[in-house]
Assembly symmetry: C2
Homo-oligomer: 347 residues x 2
DNA sequence: CTGAAAGCGCTTACAG
DNA sequence: CTGAAAGCGCTTACAG
């Protein structure tokens, strides 16, 4: 491997001068610059970023941890964040934890050991406490804890957080279904271990609004699913397989699950939304391209990504800053997968 | 930040000893180990991986470059590769180039500068030549050039390659449509700039088989699309908007485009596959969950990911190895989006 | 079993 | 404008 010393020797200068040329410290004489640049090209020299990072204490790398790259929700956020980071001169690294807290912890620990200047944690399976502990000493971290935050209100943390009001998201879904006239609803919820803790909050909001309206949501109308299309499909297929009355509407705690629910419904001969209304959550890009297009509660992904990136970036530039907390509001997007139940006129 | 020196001082030993404890070099006395470990915990010390990487010449990081994280095809491959890499003790970093060669080049250059031990390039918008040049001197690289390789047969390269026979993929699609009785086919192809160069080869194979069977594929039956669902939708919508006879079948050069084509068809009042057969390419997870489920040419994603990872890994362990080249074969997966054209009995 | 020394490839003041 | 020196935080032989 060719080092800065090699370049210096061949060009007949010191490493310091080569370094100055590379970093465009304009103090170097024109012809020296030329000579150095041409030997750099000639030798195919590329500076070792580890060495540079070591002395500068900065890597100009940012990383994002996400739990499940197979759920398009995360890539859609990553895309925006990446662009913003790149504009600011940072390289953007994505790390997939597969919903495994051990993997999350391993990434966090290695990333924090000088590899990155800042970190966005979309989801890593770690509790708030564990995160705090890990993040305390190194690179600034902003975490999206998907509702977990609410359990920790008032705590002081070195970690900045961005959250989405997922209880409200559940409420929006319930209000929509209620307004269409549904009185027999079901919920297909991502299981905590496979989908992150946040899904509990989504259900909580959904259930509360229903119950306040006098519409009970009994346990047998709640299905736990693995966080994938297949998970939604198989869970809902089981829920309607037992015989008995079908619900007229389903709330799925994310769009992937909703797509699975629709699949199960169609396979069982139900029309959507004719026999069954389905509302999802996330507003993944794909949702609007399905037929029927999915009614869903949208998370402001772009805003989330941009805010999160701005936050780390400013924390990186000025580490003395206090950490911040921020909650984003979801909105309902009505498309074609929901309608009034058969025989009910909708207002 | 707490360094190895701090730990050494507090524990009353040398940095060398601390280092030995950390890396489990068993030479250290039991009680010294205990003392060191407890001060490590006490001080919250974490070794600086940049420094370690610098002296060891290894980072235990592997990276994967992909062009479009929004196309689930790539994440599905990344998932498998990541798992394999982790089993081998490597951290796995994902980099998204957004189909921009400049971004690809920037990533490549920085990644190769000591940040990773090996690199898998799924797609980066760079030509084979540019890749060779960049990869020559640093970390072993395996590239998936999606057909470009065929243009460079016989070249000697320091870069190992894995490829999929995409001409064959196009052929499979054509053979399937032909066998169903279709005589008026169209193709919706990802535009090179937005989807990588490989799509040309897919079209080439498709077209050749058609023409050999005496079924022409005139230019107006070929649409270029941006590589997304929306791209496929709008391109096909325009193709059928002009009036005139509709084709009875469409080959889309990836599943995302196919989903868009189906959307456009349904929106235009066409039944799929009743009025229009659609065949995709990739076999993205989502494809089997659509109704109608998508007939598609499957790329052996898992095999690709595993082979690619094995390849870098072995190149990392033994850099003196010769680079390898490998071509994977696609297969046809018949589902519900294709059928014979109206009025034609299928064998 | 532990320590002193050199070095990984850079950058950063500071002389000159 | 250029160079000599120290140092970033680690690891690696090598003494003892």
């Amino acid at each position: 491997m060719v080092t800065i010393k090699d370049v210096a020797r061949v060009a007949g200068v010191t490493p310091a001068t080569v370094s100055n040329v590379i970093r465009n410290k304009g103090v170097v004489a024109e012809d020296t610059q030329k000579r150095v640049r041409s030997t750099i090209k000639e030798l195919g020299y590329r500076p070792n970023l580890m060495a540079r990072g070591l002395v500068q204490g900065r890597s100009f790398n940012l990383a994002m941890l996400l739990s499940n790259i197979a759920n398009p929700f995360y890539p859609e956020i990553a895309l925006e964040a990446e662009q913003r980071a790149r504009e600011a001169g940072y390289q953007f690294l994505l790390c997939n934890t597969q919903h495994d807290p051990r993997v999350g912890r391993a990434y966090l620990s290695r990333l924090h050991s000088g590899l990155v200047d800042g970190l966005i944690v979309l989801e890593c399976g770690l509790s708030t406490g564990a995160l705090d502990e890990l993040a305390a000493q190194r690179a600034p971290t902003v975490a999206c804890l998907w509702g977990e935050l609410f359990e920790h209100e008032g705590r002081k943390s070195p970690v900045s957080t961005i959250d989405v009001d997922f209880e409200r998201a559940g409420e929006l879904a319930a209000e929509h279904l209620l307004s269409l006239g549904h009185r027999d609803c079901a919920a297909v919820i991502g299981a905590p271990a496979a989908s992150g803790a946040g899904h509990v909050y989504r259900l909580r909001g959904f259930r509360r609004v229903l119950e306040e309206a006098g519409v009970p949501l009994p346990d047998e109308r709640i299905g736990l699913a693995e966080g994938s299309v297949e998970g939604g499909r198989s869970t809902f297929a089981t829920m309607i397989a037992g015989g008995g009355a079908w619900p007229t509407a389903v709330f799925a705690s994310n769009d992937l699950l909703a797509i699975g629910v629709i699949e199960a419904a169609l396979d069982a001969g139900l029309a959507v939304p004719g026999d069954l209304s389905v509302v999802g959550l996330d507003d993944v890009l794909m949702s609007r391209h399905l037929r029927p297009a999915l009614t869903t509660v949208a998370v402001p992904k772009r805003e989330l990504a941009l805010k999160a990136t701005e936050l780390v970036l400013s924390l990186v530039e000025d580490p003395s800053q206090r950490s911040a907390s921020l909650v984003l509001e979801p909105t309902l997007v009505v498309r074609q997968s929901t309608a009034g139940p058969r025989g009910v006129r909708t207002s």
